[in-house]
């Protein structure tokens, strides 16, 4: 291990399906990297010195680790479940801390105001009590029993429903959301946010989904998720302070922010400071 908690994580750096013959020059944690097809027709990643970095291809994306991976890439067993449609949503660049992008994804309270008439609507603004844990055995943040009224919870939802959610943070720049699946009660739709930290205040966000939906066209599924994410983008680019404060300070969290509090505490405990501010805001 390099022993650096930031370098030893896995990060998404490309969509396998969109990696062209010329490869992709991009950045990771403030350093240039290159993603390209190797002679064995597998994606490769190298750093500025030409050093080959570890690579894993999973969930439609190329993942790399600039240090020595402290553990294998997190598992999303639903990705292998027959009947699910796997949707590569594509990248959106956002001028914000990668941790802010994750934190926003974990927040429900903004739905009626930012995703009006899709993921929320006034006057249904109350976030009910839900459970949050840092699960030590897997070293992940989990929020469960989250319920929220949604006018159009998914492309496959015909009308307003009370949706149940679970949130999971399996890596510092990854959030996984499990939500009620309208056409398949008993199963969860999986929607993820994979965040590539370019700089402390600049990131590329790769949403990805594993859904039960046999009727909506792939393009409509992509556009639904892009709509949601780009509605967030202008908000994210205006959040202050730009880096995510890990210590309580002038911000006063409410009960609805429990997931965010656990996420910040978990980041701090791991010593994950890229995109974070350690002095109280």
């Amino acid at each position: 291990m390099s022993g650096d908690p930031i370098l030893d994580e896995w990060y998404p750096v490309a969509l396998v399906s969109q990696l062209g013959p010329l490869g992709r020059d991009t950045r990771l944690l403030g350093q240039p990297i290159r993603v390209y097809w190797g002679t064995d027709h597998q994606p490769q990643v190298s750093d500025a010195n030409g050093r080959a970095l570890p690579v894993t291809c999973r969930y439609g994306h190329v993942w790399t680790c600039p240090g020595t991976p402290s553990r294998p890439l997190f598992d999303i067993p639903e990705a292998d479940q027959p009947g699910r449609r796997l949707v590569d949503v594509g990248v959106v660049r956002v001028k914000c801390s990668p941790l802010r992008a994750v934190e926003n994804f974990l927040d429900i309270a903004h739905f009626p105001f930012v995703h009006t008439d899709i993921l929320g609507a006034e006057p249904h603004t109350e976030v009910g009590r839900y459970d949050v844990q840092i699960r030590d055995e897997v070293d992940e943040v989990w929020a469960t029993k989250v319920q929220f009224y949604q006018p159009q919870a998914a492309k496959s939802a015909a009308g307003g429903i009370t949706t149940e959610y679970m949130y999971r943070v399996p890596a510092p720049t990854v959030a996984v959301l499990y939500k009620t699946c309208p056409p398949r009660p008993g199963e969860w739709d999986v929607i993820t946010l994979f965040v590539q930290p370019l700089e402390q205040d600049l990131c590329e966000v790769w949403p990805w989904m594993a859904l039960f939906d046999d009727t909506t066209s792939l393009t409509d599924l992509i556009h639904f998720q892009q709509t949601i994410f780009v509605q967030d983008r202008s908000i994210l680019e205006n959040q202050l302070p730009r880096l995510l404060p890990l210590d309580p300070g002038m911000e006063i969290p409410t009960r609805a922010d429990m997931t965010s509090i656990a996420y910040r505490r978990w980041l701090k405990r791991r010593g994950y400071s890229f995109g974070a501010q350690l002095v109280a805001a």
């Binding site: 969509l15 399906s17 969109q18 590569d88 949503v89 594509g90 990248v91 959106v92 660049r93 001028k95 105001f113 930012v114 009006t116 006034e122 590329e204 066209s217 792939l218 393009t219 409509d220 992509i222 556009h223 892009q226 709509t227 949601i228 994410f229 780009v230 509605q231 983008r233 202008s234 680019e237």
Partner: protein, 219 residues
């Protein structure tokens, strides 16, 4: 009427917005512009050799320029949006429809660079974008001094619809709109129009709720 559409495209949004404001029904055909690049496919180029969106198809008619599509939709279902039938008005509306191309080529390009990583000379795009916003601000300020709230007169026309989306979305491409109070007032008026619809990055105006009524202890 079929609109080949991309939800994040300001030029497609203009058409959806005008259709919503005039009550024109559109059948939306989503094009996988990003990440799929469907607009570059051979099948799409059969429809529009230029490989651009939006494209409007109405029977045998195919239009591929947003100014032309706006004009057609207005003529079909909301002729008031063309402005009154005078040479001055026709000239002014056409002027702003053409100006909107400069907005697409500057602010629009900066936005797709910053958001979707499309290639651009970002500094040149931002400089040209700021120059466009300054022109828009001056024009709107002069209109306001003459008692008009919109680009071509007292009521909104295609001129406003054509320029509105890029003016609103400029911050997406790293161009601040803070210095332009006349643009801000104008975009607020457009967002307040009955039938207005939003797009990602252009939020609706949230109605101000009435002040809470005094509770016990406050008479």
């Amino acid at each position: 009427m079929i609109l080949y559409d991309y939800i994040l495209s300001p030029d497609c949004y203009k058409i959806r917005l005008l259709a919503a404001l005039t009550g024109q029904r559109l059948t939306l055909q989503a094009v996988d512009y990003h990440p799929g690049g469907e607009h570059r496919s051979a099948a799409f180029r059969m429809l529009n050799p230029a490989g651009t969106i939006p494209v409007l198809q109405d029977g045998a008619l195919i239009l591929t320029e947003s100014a032309a599509i706006l004009t057609y939709v207005a003529a079909m279902s909301g002729p008031d949006w063309l402005g009154e039938d005078s040479p001055q008005m026709r000239g002014q509306v056409a002027q702003w429809l053409a100006f909107a191309h400069r907005l697409s080529a500057s602010i629009g390009k900066a936005r797709s660079h910053d958001m979707l990583q499309q290639p651009a000379d970002i500094n040149a795009c931002r400089r040209a974008g700021v120059a466009c916003l300054q022109e828009l601000e001056s024009a709107l300020t002069e209109q306001r001094l003459m008692g008009f709230g919109y680009l071509a007169g007292a009521r909104p026309t295609l001129a406003d619809i054509a320029c509105f989306p890029h003016a609103m979305l400029a911050p997406d491409g790293g161009i601040s709109t803070d210095p332009y109070p006349a643009i801000r007032l104008w975009t607020r008026s457009l967002r307040a129009l009955p039938g207005f619809i939003e797009m990602p990055g252009i939020h609706r105006l949230h109605e101000l709720k009435p002040e809470p009524i005094g509770t016990a202890g406050q008479d």
